[in-house]
Each structure stands twice: as structure tokens, then as C-alpha cells.
């Protein structure tokens, strides 16, 4: 039977520029491995699907590993040697639902977290 997954909308502590995204992903996966352990990581299998803007990205994980991933995101305070933290806004079974939530909440997210004009936020 097809394995079920969940998509989680995550916000990082700062903008991650395109040039540094690959090193960020390496550091992120390494930190998640440290918190989840090898067994937990293989069962949850977290993977960054795409960046919606500088700070927000979609993380995919298995349904059974969703709680572990959420806990791991709360406990991860260091990525690539830099002090870090993550907030999660919504989790859903489809990317479409997350996209709709992001479109409706984008201006509020930008004004509260980024202090930027919503119109200048890139996707």
C-alpha cells in the first residue's frame, strides 16, 4: 500500500538566500539526524520539498513520523554551527492545501515575522 505523507509549512529564523540553501539543507538534515537518531530519521524521513520564500519552506515527512518531526523542529536550536529555531504553521496531506493557507496568510506572516511589505515577498 502507498505510504502516507504529511507536508508541514515551516518558518526558519532568518531569510535563507538561494546561494546558501544547499548548505542550509545539509546542516538542517544533520541537525534533524542528531535529534531523531538513525532509527527515527529513517522512519520519519524528513525532506525539504521547496522554499516558498526566504524563510518559509515545505517539509515532507511520513505520517507516522509527523509528531517526531514536529518535536525535532521544536528541539533543533543549532543548524550548521549557527543558532537557529523553527516555527511550524500548518501541516496537511496535500501541497495544495498548504499553498492555499500560505496565500491567505502570507501578508500577515510577512508583517509579523519579517517586518516587510507583503507585496515584496517572493515565492
Amino acid at each position: 500500500m502507498k505510504e502516507k505523507h504529511r507536508y508541514i509549512l515551516v518558518s526558519a529564523w532568518r531569510d535563507i538566500r538561494e546561494a546558501e540553501r544547499s548548505s542550509f539543507e545539509k546542516g538542517f538534515y544533520s541537525s534533524m539526524l542528531g535529534v531523531l537518531g538513525e532509527l527515527g530519521y529513517s522512519s520519519a524521513h524528513p525532506k525539504i520539498v521547496k522554499f516558498l520564500d526566504g524563510r518559509r519552506f515545505v517539509l515532507k515527512c511520513t505520517l507516522e513520523g509527523k509528531d517526531s518531526v514536529l518535536s525535532a523542529l521544536a528541539m533543533t536550536k543549532m543548524v550548521g554551527g549557527e543558532s537557529a529555531f523553527f516555527y511550524t504553521f500548518k501541516s496537511s496531506g496535500t501541497l495544495l492545501a498548504l499553498g492555499k493557507y500560505y496565500d491567505s496568510a502570507h501578508s500577515e506572516l510577512s508583517s509579523v515575522f519579517d517586518g516587510k511589505d507583503a507585496a515584496s515577498g517572493a515565492r
Binding site: 509528531d67 514536529l70 518535536s71 521544536a74 528541539m75 543558532s83
Partner: protein, 173 residues
């Protein structure tokens, strides 16, 4: 079910994020409720919440609807029975888990699980809050629920424990 979270004084700026992070409201120590520390020279015995490592002192100050926040996660039977008899609320701070690493964190998770299980079985009211000291330790509603499930091992108990933070809306008599 509305979710509330409890933050320390250093996290005042986090109040702006409460609705985005999925909470009804954040309660900030010193602003939304009075807090007193047992480790300081003089303890305010009329405070809404008492925080500290000295479990005997915390037990003595347990009072109806008062939040008792132990920074020492050892099981103290006297504290739990005082919390249960007085109608106080034992609040477990998740910041002790999120602010530590490695073996220390693993030990604290285990201790918190055991403390929660003992207190719950004894009939005491147990709440769970992040007690974040800065934005770095703030959690969204989903993250808080996942951490609470780690401690309680049951989704229903986790939800009830987080919802119990709403008791801060009432004041101890």
C-alpha cells in the same frame, strides 16, 4: 478547545505571534500574571505562579488555582500530594527540554515523563507549557502538542494539559 501558552518575562515580544502560531493567547510572566521565584531572597506568597528548584518550598506554597512550576524534575511525593490536596496546578516547563542537548535532554525528557505519569496517576492537575525565555524557544501549537505527547504518551492527555493553561485567566483565591 483553546490553547494558551505561558512565557517568561524575556519573551514579551512573542505575544505578537500568538494567533499565527495557533494559540488563543500567550500569558507573559510579570505582565499577564504575577510570578515569584523560590530561589530569590524573598518569595511573594500572593503570586499567581511560583517557580523554583526547591520542591519543599514549592509544596508549602501550593494554593488553589496557583501554578507550581518546578525546575527540578525529580518526583517529590509531598509536592504532588500538596498540589492535589490544595487544588493547585503543577505546570511542567518544556523549556527545560528545548534548551538542553544530548544526554542531558534525554534524561530530562525521561524525568518529565515519569513526573507527569506519577502526578496524573495521583490525581493532581498537570499542565504543560513552553515557559519560553526568548523567541528562540517559542513553539507553535502543533509543536507544543507534539512535545506534550512525548511527555504524556496520549494525545487526549496532551490536549487537556495544554488547555489547562487557561486556568491562569482565573486568579487563585
Amino acid at each position: 478547545m483553546d490553547f494558551y501558552d505561558i512565557l517568561q518575562e524575556g519573551c514579551k515580544s512573542g505575544k505578537a505571534y500568538s494567533s499565527l502560531l495557533g494559540f488563543k493567547a500567550f500569558f507573559v510572566a510579570g505582565e499577564d500574571f504575577s510570578v515569584s521565584y523560590t530561589d530569590s531572597k524573598s518569595t511573594d506568597e500572593s503570586a499567581n505562579a511560583i517557580v523554583g528548584e526547591n520542591l519543599k518550598k514549592l509544596a508549602r506554597l501550593a494554593k488553589y488555582k496557583r501554578f507550581i512550576i518546578p525546575l527540578n524534575l525529580e518526583i517529590d511525593r509531598f509536592l504532588v500530594s500538596r498540589v492535589k490536596d490544595s487544588g493547585a496546578i503543577l505546570c511542567l516547563p518544556l523549556s527545560s527540554i528545548t534548551s538542553s542537548y544530548g544526554f542531558v535532554r534525554a534524561r530530562r525528557i525521561r524525568m518529565m515523563q515519569k513526573l507527569y505519569a506519577y502526578a496524573y496517576r495521583s490525581g493532581a492537575s498537570v499542565a504543560i507549557a513552553s515557559f519560553a525565555q526568548s523567541e528562540q524557544h517559542l513553539n507553535s501549537r502543533e509543536q507544543l502538542l507534539a512535545l506534550a505527547k512525548l511527555v504524556t504518551a496520549s494525545e487526549l492527555q496532551a490536549r487537556k494539559a495544554i488547555a489547562l493553561n487557561a486556568a491562569l485567566l482565573e486568579r487563585p483565591r
